[in-house]
Symmetry: C2
Subunit: 119 residues, 2 copies
């Protein structure tokens, strides 16, 4: 039946880092997959928490209060308003869940700001 | 730093099937892990979609429109109001995301209805 999403298959359709793809909706939230590589813009989301689940590789979320190191099967929810910088030296594949209106660079738009985009 | 959740570790703390544990909050949503085994109550959630990601094992979501078979790394979002019966012959470990007020049996309370509970 339609509607099942294989996350690895979705991730195999693109290579670009820091460019989330929306694979499903959950009410007014987006389920997104993203590849991370290198350093992202430090930013916050004043309106919302942000859910991260690492599927493959490793991701560090740098924050003033300390860093969170995530490997496969590990989750962290960045609280709303908390400044954070995702960094991924080795690269990672990550599942993100956040309100559909959320942009990747939050309050710090840059050339890394991505449009909402499906796979 | 505190706040990182290892999903396999959270799942290792209990054995009971169909008894979700809330491991984190995302705004007014819960991030839950659950073990599935056998047949669950057929039910719907009139107020919300429901996110399923299978982490281990296999889960079938039976619906009038057809069944969805999920293995590791596969996602399905059950639309609000759609009657569904989760069935898991071999057992599975599943990540659920849904509004915190959502109960597992939705509109069909039974002895399987679980209180909201942390790990």
């Amino acid at each position: 039946m339609d509607g099942r999403i294989d996350l690895a298959s979705a991730l195999s359709t693109f290579d670009e880092a820091w460019a989330p793809r929306t694979v499903a909706s959950l009410n007014d939230y987006d389920v997104r997959v993203v590849k991370t590589q290198g350093e992202f813009t430090r930013h916050s989301h004043p309106e919302t928490d942000e859910f991260f689940l690492v599927l493959r590789g490793s991701l560090t979320i740098k924050m003033d209060g300390g860093d969170v190191e995530l490997g496969p099967g590990q989750v962290y929810v960045v609280p709303r308003g908390v400044s954070h910088q995702p960094v991924s030296a080795e690269g990672a594949e990550v599942l993100l869940i956040e309100p559909s209106a959320t942009t990747n660079t939050g309050d710090t738009p840059s050339e890394l700001t991505a449009e909402r985009r499906a796979v």
